[in-house]
């Protein structure tokens, strides 16, 4: 019988017996080897001690060749029963004396000649050779033969004991393993019996008894659970079968009723399909099957038979270049595969008109055939809106020119290509001169229309590869590529100016436009878009200061100016708090009486670094940054307070003139502010004169009219500043409640030397008189100008000829001695 076929109990028993027998054998063997080695080493140890003792005692007899004494010494070995032979050798290796034990003869042991010192084992004996020393010097050798017979008999004893232990342990193990295997095997025997019962009787309700814990118990419990599950699923299956049979019966009766309903609902769906507002198609794998009337309408067809394939109602190619026929078939296949497909499609109406549509394909089954229901919706408007959003991100909405974002992109591309081709690139920064005034005087809509016209001219002028962009209100940038030298750029800039020279006709106005152009060159003036635009801007700023229609190339010093401008700008923000601003006052004289009738408050800025900053430089900055509002309020309050101080000092009351900027004037709280100034300073309204520019009055004239009227009602007076520089006519200005006109200094400069200038000035004075306006001339520098003005009956003068702007104390002094100053003496012409 093969071991594999043995029962588990026998297998276990055999295994345990084998293991325990092997353990006893190994232990005995190991112990025997250990004992034997132990015996041998102790024999060597004992024999060595014996040999040394004999050696010491017989050393002298060897030295003195006294064989008898040596023999006697060896005789002492008689008391050592296991020493068979003792022999002394002299230094020449000859036997010197010998002892033989009585046992020696029967063992037949012989001792051969002298060997090197050490222990020599053979089967029956141990031979030890040692040196014999006399006071450290060798006088010979000793050899002892030790009988190992005892070791052999001891070994035999061990074997007997080991055999006995082996037999005993096998017996004990056998009895123990019998009991153990019965306890392990019993559950399996039981399981096997139960399993047999289940398989023969098909009865899943029997259970095995759980008698043990551990793995056997777990196995029985699992087996029982398995039986329970089989039993319950068996029951379920039976129940389901019964249920199904009922269902089939029920369904059959239902279907009969349903087929009648179905016919009715089909009619209902047909109506829904036909009357849907969305265009709907039915498509099968070959093409169109059916469509509703909305679809016919959408595409302008009259009958359904006019088209069979989506390609029939599409252009040959879609916007991405794919063939419409192939793309449509791909979409249809995908919809059949995925069940649903939604995408955008370019369709074509019967009349050839194209439109964007959103198409939704949904797979379905109709009378057993796979079909697609296609819904088509016109999304032209949504598409347009999207494109508009896209456009606005990169283009300026007003002019349609690229905006700053797209410009930077174009510049970067141009620079990359210029680097490769070792070419130059020029950036022209163009700013319209006095556009603000046009905007203020003619209104924003006119300004916008003008910008569109300018953009159109620039676009018409530019080459294909150039980019014209709008980067700010009236700021344009022209990017010129493939520039060989700087003169190319300056020629181009000159042509830009010429292109803008002809008058623009905008909303019934004929407008003359000049501009300032700054040029920066790549690679000389900057290596990226930001630097090039910034530097062109700086160059433009410099060009602007040189007058209209000027072109400037960027230079390093411009950059410095730009930096200075920015420094001033940041300095101005702090100037109020740091009390760097102060007022000077320029007296105004009545020509007829020679008396001081008023003073104009003039703003001055003492910069800690740049010293006294000229007003025309920082006022522009203040206007551009909005700082003009708080500064203006400060000027107004300070000037009014000063006027009140003079009055409190008992000086004759004079009007104080204060300039008001357009930005300030447009502030909602401007009137309230003026009221609060009067309240705080205690100055009577009649002593304040506000100086307004023409352009300010003309922008948004309706609102201005109301505001000015209200101001006038408060009791203060209004004057028009810088008259003659704007576009307004006197008759137009008459509508405003203005009481004084201030002729711009540029006319006064001309009166004595230029007949035209003199004529204009005379005409202005004359017309003002007609309108009952007082006239004051600004910037009077000399006697000639004064006498001209006196001749033409100008009312008042202001200028260095009479008095430069002076401090408040100086004004007080002059007021005290009023009339004394009425015969002015020449003064240096200086602001």
């Amino acid at each position: 019988m093969h071991v594999r076929n043995l029962s588990i109990r026998v297998k276990l028993t055999l295994l345990i017996l084998f293991a325990s027998g092997l353990a006893v054998l190994l232990a005995s063997f190991g112990f025997g080897i250990y004992e034997s080695a132990n015996y041998r080493s102790s024999a060597v140890r004992e024999l060595t001690a014996l040999a040394d003792t004999l050696g010491v005692n017989s050393a002298a007899s060897l030295a003195f060749e006294d064989k008898k004494a040596a023999q006697e010494m060896l005789g002492a070995l008689a008391i050592e029963p296991h020493v068979l032979i003792g022999r002394l050798y002299d230094n020449d290796g000859n036997s010197f004396a010998e002892y033989r034990s009585p046992n020696c003869g029967q063992n037949g042991i012989i001792l051969s000649g002298l060997r090197p010192d050490g222990a020599y084992f053979d089967r029956t004996s141990l031979v030890l050779f040692r040196g014999v020393l006399l006071n450290g010097q060798r006088t010979g050798s000793i050899a002892l033969v030790f009988d190992l017979g005892e070791l052999r008999s001891q070994r035999l004893e061990y074997v007997k004991i080991a055999a006995l232990v082996l037999v005993l342990s096998v017996l004990v193990t056998f009895v123990a393993s019998l009991r153990l295997t019965v306890s392990i095997g019993a559950p399996f025997v039981q399981l096997a019996a139960v399993a047999r019962q289940v398989s023969t009787e098909k009865d899943y309700s029997v259970r095995a008894k759980v008698g043990a814990g551990g793995e056997a118990g777990l196995l029985i419990r699992s087996f029982n659970e398995m039986l329970s599950q089989i039993e319950s699923s068996n029951n379920q299956l039976r129940q389901q079968r019964e249920h199904l049979e009922e269902q089939v019966e029920f369904r059959t009766s239902e279907l009969v009723a349903a087929s009648a309903e179905l016919r009715e609902s089909e009619n209902k769906y047909r109506v829904l399909f036909e009357d849907s507002a969305d265009a709907i198609w039915l498509i099968d794998s070959k093409g169109y099957v059916d469509c509703n009337s909305a679809a016919l309408q959408l595409f302008g067809f009259s009958t359904k038979s006019e088209f069979t394939h989506p390609a029939d109602i599409s252009p040959p190619n879609q916007p991405d270049g794919r063939s419409s026929r192939i793309a449509a078939e791909k979409r249809i296949a995908a919809a059949f595969l995925k069940g649903k497909e939604r995408f955008e499609w370019l369709h074509r109406r019967k009349n050839g008109e194209l439109f964007h549509a959103e198409v939704c394909l949904a797979a379905m089954k109709l009378q057993g055939r796979p079909m697609l229901l296609a819904t088509v919706r016109d999304i032209t408007e949504r598409k347009i809106a999207e494109e508009r959003v896209q456009f606005l991100a990169y283009y300026d909405a007003l002019t349609g020119l690229p905006n700053r974002t797209l410009l930077e992109d174009r510049i970067s591309k141009a620079l990359a290509s210029a680097r490769r081709r070792k070419e130059g690139v020029a950036v022209l920064f163009l700013d319209l001169d006095r556009f603000k005034i046009i905007n203020d005087t003619l209104g924003h809509s006119t300004g916008d229309a003008l910008l569109q016209e300018v953009a159109a001219r620039l676009k018409g002028w530019a080459r294909e590869q150039d980019t014209v962009a709008r980067v700010g209100g009236d700021e344009f940038v022209v990017l010129l590529t493939s520039i060989a030298q700087a003169s190319d750029a300056s020629v181009a800039a000159q042509r830009v100016i010429s292109a803008l020279t002809a008058d623009f006709s905008v909303m019934g106005n004929s407008i003359n436009v000049t501009c300032s152009i700054g040029i920066s060159m790549f690679p000389e003036n900057g290596r990226d878009s930001e630097a090039l635009v910034k530097n062109a801007d700086a160059a433009m700023y410099s060009a602007k200061q040189k007058g209209p229609n000027n072109i400037q190339f960027f230079t390093k010093s411009m950059n410095d100016q730009m930096v200075e401008k920015l420094t001033l700008e940041s300095g101005l923000r702090l100037a109020l708090d740091r009390e760097e601003l102060f007022l000077m006052y320029q007296p105004q004289m009545d020509i007829a009486t020679g008396e001081i009738v008023g003073v104009e408050a003039l703003l001055r800025w003492q910069h800690p670094e740049f010293g006294l900053v000229p007003p025309d430089r920082f006022i522009r900055i203040a206007e551009n940054t909005g700082l003009v509002v708080p500064i203006g309020e400060w000027v107004l309050r300070t000037a009014c307070a000063q006027a009140r101080i003079w009055q409190d000092e008992g000086l004759p009351g004079v009007q104080i003139a204060v300039n008001v900027s357009a930005v300030q004037f447009r502030q909602d709280g401007f009137r309230d502010h003026i009221r609060s100034v009067f309240y705080e300073t205690g100055l009577a309204a009649q002593y304040l004169e506000l100086e307004l520019t023409e352009s300010l009055l003309l922008s948004n004239a309706d609102v201005m009219f109301a505001v000015l009227r209200e101001l006038k009602e408060m009791g203060l007076s209004l004057a028009i500043d810088d008259f003659g520089t704007g576009y307004s006519s006197l008759s137009y200005l008459r509508q405003f409640p203005v009481s004084k006109l201030k002729i711009d200094r540029s006319f006064i400069q001309d009166v004595a030397i230029n007949p035209d200038g003199a004529a204009i000035t005379a005409a202005i004075i004359g017309m003002a008189k007609n309108l009952n306006l007082r006239v004051i001339a600004e910037g009077v520098e000399n006697e000639a100008q004064l006498s001209f003005l006196r001749t033409h009956q100008c009312d008042e003068i202001q200028g260095n000829y009479f008095s430069r702007p002076v401090s408040a104390d100086k004004v007080a002094e002059m007021l005290r001695g009023n009339k004394i100053e009425s015969t002015p003496s020449p003064r240096p012409a200086e602001m």
Partner: protein, 180 residues
């Protein structure tokens, strides 16, 4: 090394001994005596590393003895053979060898050495009775020796029991009169 070999060769030729061979054996005996005898600590001059073996220069076998023993090491010391003239004092001798033909000189010499730590070795029959310590003689052509332990004691010499065990006879009495 040559000396050592000579020393060990001595017994090998014991069957055909010439006078020279016998004295080679005797020289070996003298060497082993020195090994097995302890001298008192005051027996040697401090700083002297030699163990002086004194032999009268008229001794016929002086040459053999000297060549066999000169320079041999004993413990920390080295054997030095000193030739004595007749009248020369015996100071500095650790061993005194007196040959067979000493006659009257022997008894006078031994008397003068009474109580001195000098190992006396002689060959004459009356050597021990005249106050010598070890006497060499031949038994069946083999060299043997007798020891007078009494004289050794009075000379403050300690003789190893191993030497005593090998002596043919051991005399306890101090035959030399005038001792304690």
């Amino acid at each position: 090394m040559v000396l050592v070999m000579l020393l060990f060769q001595a017994p090998q030729s014991a069957y055909a001994q010439t006078a020279t061979d016998v004295y080679k054996v005797k020289a070996a005996f003298l060497f082993h005596f020195a090994q097995l005898v302890d001298w008192p600590s005051d027996a040697f001059n401090s700083g002297d590393q030699s163990l002086n073996l004194c032999i009268f220069d008229d001794e016929p076998h002086l040459q053999e003895l000297q060549s066999a023993l000169e320079g041999k090491p004993i413990g920390t010391r080295v054997v030095h053979v000193r030739r004595l003239r007749q009248t020369q004092p015996l100071q500095g001798c650790s061993i005194l060898f007196l040959g067979r033909n000493e006659g009257r000189r022997q008894s006078a010499t031994l008397r003068s050495l009474h109580g001195q730590p000098v190992l006396t070795v002689g060959e004459s029959n009356n050597f021990l009775s005249e106050g010598g310590i070890i006497r060499l003689h031949l038994v069946q052509d083999k060299v043997r020796f007798d020891i007078n332990v009494g004289v050794a004691d009075s000379s403050r010499l300690k003789i190893s029991s191993r030497l005593l065990l090998l002596a043919s006879s051991v005399t306890l009495g101090d035959q030399a009169k005038g001792g304690q």
